[in-house]
């Protein structure tokens, strides 16, 4: 299966993905075989249903949000390129990368991009602001039933208050970055991809 899948992937595609995402050749082929096995429709793209079939995602409180993050706005298919682009956010930052520039502009796994990914999880309406309601929704997903709505509301209020610097009762991306300044995002938003 794996070998068949990788044979479907053209060398030049791999090169381009490599350039864009910084994954190694073997990582790309490995992930491609995974992509292929998720792709039940065999059409070279994943739909939401394909993701939802992953059993663990069903019990992940943020599962649906994360699935959504794979899909560009308005689309409900994601091809391998897009799939890899999203995953690339979670590549650990390596030391030698700091020196050589792979792509012009910021790499996908930079701190800002990692944060932006997290930010988008909250920001449902994509207005680049986390409103109280948006925050409440996410909180509701993440905390147990033991916490009452009022308590959750005050948690949300407080959270916004903490981050909000301009007093609009929303968290903008700048404020979001600022409040997480001291958090080691590079480490906390990285997973190990097999080589």
């Amino acid at each position: 299966m794996g070998s068949r899948a990788s044979s479907l992937l053209r060398e030049e595609d791999i090169e381009e993905i490599k350039k864009e995402t910084g994954f190694s050749h073997s990582q790309i082929t490995r992930l491609y075989s995974r992509f292929h096995s998720l792709d039940k429709g065999e059409n070279g793209a994943l739909s939401r249903e394909d993701f939802q079939r992953i059993p663990e995602l069903a019990i992940n409180p943020l599962g649906d949000r994360i699935i959504n993050a794979f899909f560009p706005e308005g689309e409900d298919q994601v091809n391998f390129r897009g799939f890899m682009r999203t995953l690339a956010h979670f590549r650990p930052v390596e030391d030698n990368e700091k020196n050589k520039v792979l792509t012009p502009g910021e790499p996908l796994n930079s701190r800002t991009n990692k944060l932006l990914f997290a930010f988008r999880l909250y920001d449902l309406d994509r207005d680049d602001k986390i409103s109280r309601d948006e925050l409440l929704q996410v909180l509701r997903m993440m905390v147990g039933v033991n916490i009452s709505d009022e308590q959750l509301g005050s948690i949300a209020d407080r959270t916004i208050q903490e981050a909000d610097t301009n007093g609009d009762m929303c968290i903008s991306f700048n404020e979001f970055t600022k409040v997480l300044e001291k958090v080691d995002v590079e480490q906390k938003m990285s997973i190990r991809f097999l080589h």
Binding site: F90, M142, S154, Q161
Partner: protein
């Protein structure tokens, strides 16, 4: 600044005391010094004591000198005191301890003490003997370290820690032993009566790494948390592994070289793993026991904390009894029970436990280091062999570096964030040897190892060398290498929530990539824990509120409440209740609500008091789940306002002179005279006299109210009332309404007035209230007078009254909710005006 100097002076005095004490101690010790402090002192002394008792009774003695009766405990206590005073002396000057680590200083103090003992006895009478060390000093240190271990960090790095602790220790033990033996064979140390097995045994005991000095440096410099946990965790587990290894080699030595064959070696390896993992397993079992026990200790809260200490100690002893690794047992016991115990026990008990463990652990640590110094002053153990000693030092450092680098290289292949080279250097350099090595060396059996004294001496030298020299150089070294520092992040809700988000995202990503990564394990453990472990080990209500985000919220709110109150108290009496700018919690609303709901039968003052007192108290007082929603505070406060009012009053009422007589109480002794208080009263009296003098000039008659003040029960009120309408209220109808209100609701007023006889005093006596007091004349009335003052006082200085509409006098007269609201309103209006006045008086 002044405080600091006075504190310094105090410490100097202590130092003097210590010097005296040492001088005084020594003859005492000398008097008793036939016996060793712990070995057999007691039995001997009781024997001598009984015999002397029998012989001397000829007449009824009034007082007898019974030194032998108390000798052993007395000496122990004295030594503990001396050691702790040594620590005190070491900590006198921080610029000193920042250069030389405390442990090094303590060892040096030990040298001095040992010298004194030596000078007095001409023999070493006190030393650290292994039994005491392993049974009475070590367990609490390990328990404390493991109980306070940052749990999550520890388990997420457990793999690396175990690799370093097990493989690293074996590596160190083996290589140091073999290399020393090779050098011996090569002829570097002359002729010694040591075989290869003994060298291995020595290597094993030399591999115990002691964290105390390193951890102190790390904490000061704030190295990054991965490095911290690696060194900390490694050295903790390493102690256990060392002891196991030591026992295995010890068995080999007793078995003797010729009898050792492949079978025995395999047995040795098996026993190593059985002992190590058996001990750890036993620890986990005890952790489960402790957690389950704390589920039901609610009714014996006082000794709740003691259970953990005793059971922890029992886990140590049980493991020892089963010849499993005791240190590993108590380590895992502490690490595993921590979370559930903290959730199950009352917050107070958790604090108690933490502090008592710290006291015990720090105390023993101090004693150990001092005694490491004291033990040095002994002629017998100093068998010098330059080659042996120097080579030992060389090898332990070289092989430590090699081992750490090799293992980290292995680990880095699989680590998400590799351990970088500076961290590795620091890890290697942090391999200080400490008391465990000494303890093991002292346990060596002279019958089996003829060169015991050489080994003991060498161990001591290695300990001094590493603790003092490496300890001193550690800090500059860390700074010079620019080791990555920990980011000190404050607790923020955003941080907590986003950490959670990140975790979920990562697991989702791993699922999508289709591999079982670290997050997979974490997540599944979490699920399992939530489902079964917590159900078994946690109280149901603790379980309910065991939410990270909510916990953070709780803590932040508590902090806020505290700040809020401090700021409020600093600002002056009641200002903070209305001041909404400096608190993100809406106390104001809640309080206002409470006023609105009434409790009309309650005196206003007591309400205010609870406002001041209640908030910080609730965290401790309530026996509820640690939820912070203010609703809960509110419920609580409804129960307690009275209690708090009284409490506050008791604290702040000036004591009359008769009360100033020293009281003899077991728990506390009140200072008889408070000069500040006297000053305060004096100033206030003088100012009030001046004021009344002024107002007399202005044509108002303060004498009227003075004549009335002795009558203080509420029947007097009707008398005062007719006067009200006649009075002019130049500062507006607000105040008019106040009094009207008080008049109309005189029945209620009668109710609360009785209480308010002492309530105003709260306002008067609380230092926070003083600024306002000074500006407004009627306020300066002594407590017994205030009541009449409400009705009859003429407000000699309108300005003052107008400026402070919320001063207790006004509020006292206002018992209906409207007037409170109004007081609020007026307070807001007048706020800017109020500030300068306050400012002046404070200056």
């Amino acid at each position: 600044m002044q405080l600091k100097t006075s504190a310094m002076a105090l410490l100097r005095r202590f130092a003097l005391l210590l010097a005296l004490l040492i001088v005084f101690n020594t003859p005492c010790k000398v008097a008793a010094l036939e016996e060793d402090i712990a070995e057999e002192g007691y039995s001997k002394s009781t024997a001598t004591e009984t015999s002397s008792n029998v012989t001397t009774i000829t007449t009824l003695p009034i007082v007898i000198w019974k030194w032998h009766h108390v000798e052993t405990p007395y000496l122990v206590a004295l030594w503990i005191l001396t050691c702790w005073l040594c620590k005190l002396v070491c900590e006198l000057n921080h610029s000193f301890t920042s250069v030389i680590p405390e442990s090094g200083l303590l060892i040096m103090m030990g040298f001095i003490l040992g010298g004194i003992v030596w000078g007095a006895d001409k023999a070493q009478t006190f030393k650290l003997i292994p039994v005491n060390f392993f049974y009475y000093l070590l367990p609490q240190i390990v328990l404390d370290a493991s109980y306070c271990m940052p749990n999550k960090l520890f388990f997420s790095n457990l793999g690396a820690i175990l690799v370093h602790a097990i493989i690293g220790t074996c590596w160190n033990a083996g290589t140091v032993g073999v290399a020393l033996w090779a050098c011996y064979e090569w002829g570097a140390m002359g002729t010694l009566n040591i075989g290869p097995l003994q060298f291995l045994l020595f290597g094993a005991l030399m591999s115990a790494v002691d964290p105390v000095a390193v951890i102190a440096v790390f904490e000061e410099v704030h190295v990054n948390e991965v490095l911290y946990i690696l060194v900390f965790g490694e050295s903790l587990l390493n102690d256990g592994v060392t002891v196991v290894l030591y026992n295995v080699f010890d068995a080999f030595v007793s078995l003797g070289g010729p009898k050792i064959n492949a079978e025995e070696i395999i047995k040795g390896i098996i026993s190593f793993f059985v002992v190590a993992f058996g001990g750890s397993f036993l620890g986990v079992v005890f952790a489960i026991l402790i957690s389950m026990l704390t589920r039901v200790t609610k009714n014996v809260q006082v000794i709740e904390a003691g259970f953990i200490i005793v059971l922890g100690y029992l886990s140590y002893l049980t493991a020892e009894m089963l010849s499993l690794s005791a240190i590993l047992s108590i380590t895992f016991c502490g690490v595993c029970c921590q979370k559930y115990v903290n959730a199950n026990m009352d917050e107070k008990s958790v604090t108690t436990l933490r502090y008592s463990l710290k006291v015990l652990a720090n105390g023993s640590e101090t004693m150990i280091f001092v005694f490491l110094g004291v033990s040095a002053i002994d002629k017998n153990i100093w068998v010098w062999n330059t080659g042996f000693i120097l080579l030992t030092i060389l090898f332990i450092i070289v092989f430590r570096f090699m081992g750490v680098f090799f293992l980290n290289w292995l680990l880095n292949m699989n680590r998400l964030i590799p351990i970088d080279i500076t961290d590795q250097i620091v890890m290697s350099y942090g391999g200080l040897r400490g008391a465990v090595a000494y303890g093991l060396a002292a346990t060596l059996d002279e019958a089996k190892i003829p060169e015991k004294n050489l080994m003991l001496g060498t161990t001591l030298i290695v300990v001094y060398f590493t603790v003092v020299l490496q300890g001193i150089t550690m800090k500059p070294f860390v700074q010079w290498l620019k080791v990555k520092k920990a980011t000190i992040s404050d607790l923020t809700l955003n941080g907590k929530i986003n950490n959670r988000t990140f975790e979920h995202t990562l697991t989702a990503m791993e699922d999508i990539c289709g591999r079982m990564g670290d997050n997979w394990w974490t997540r599944h453990w979490k699920n399992f824990e939530d489902k079964y472990v917590c159900w078994l080990l946690m109280k149901s209500n603790a379980r309910k509120h065991n939410d990270n985000i909510f916990g953070a919220f709780h803590k932040l709110n508590l902090e806020d409440a505290k700040n809020y109150v401090t700021v409020g108290e600093r600002k002056g009496s009641l200002a903070f209740i209305r001041n909404d700018d400096n608190a993100s919690v809406d106390f104001k609303k809640k309080l206002a609500l409470e006023y609105a709901n009434g409790m009309p039968d309650m005196s206003d003052m007591s309400e205010y008091d609870f406002g001041i007192d209640n908030v910080p108290v609730t965290s401790g007082m309530k026996n509820q789940i640690p939820s912070v929603s203010l609703d809960i505070h509110e419920q609580d406060s409804k129960r307690m306002p009275d209690l708090n009012a009284h409490h506050l009053l008791e604290q702040h009422l000036y004591k009359s002179r008769s009360n100033n007589r020293p009281t003899y109480s077991r728990s506390h002794y009140k200072e008889s005279e408070n000069p500040d208080e006297m000053q305060e009263i004096f100033q206030r009296t003088m100012r009030s006299r001046l004021e009344s003098f002024k107002s007399a000039k202005m044509g108002v008659k303060p004498s009227k109210k003075i004549s009335k003040h002795p009558k203080k029960d509420s029947t007097h009120k009707p008398n005062g009332k007719p006067a009200d309408p006649n009075r002019i209220y130049p500062y507006g109808d607000e105040d008019f309404e106040f009094s009207a209100d008080s008049a109309s609701s005189s029945e209620i007023a009668g109710n609360f007035r009785r209480r308010s006889t002492n309530a105003p005093a709260a306002g008067v006596e609380n230092p926070a209230f003083i600024p306002e007091m000074d500006t407004s004349a009627p306020m300066r009335n002594p407590p017994w007078q205030t009541e009449t003052a409400i009705n009859t006082a003429v407000a000699p200085s309108q300005r003052a009254q107008g400026r402070l509409p919320w001063t207790p006098t006004n509020l006292r007269s206002a018992c209906s909710t409207d007037s409170i609201a109004m007081a609020n309103a007026s307070a807001d209006d007048e706020a800017p005006e109020e500030k300068p006045g306050k400012h002046n008086t404070r200056l």
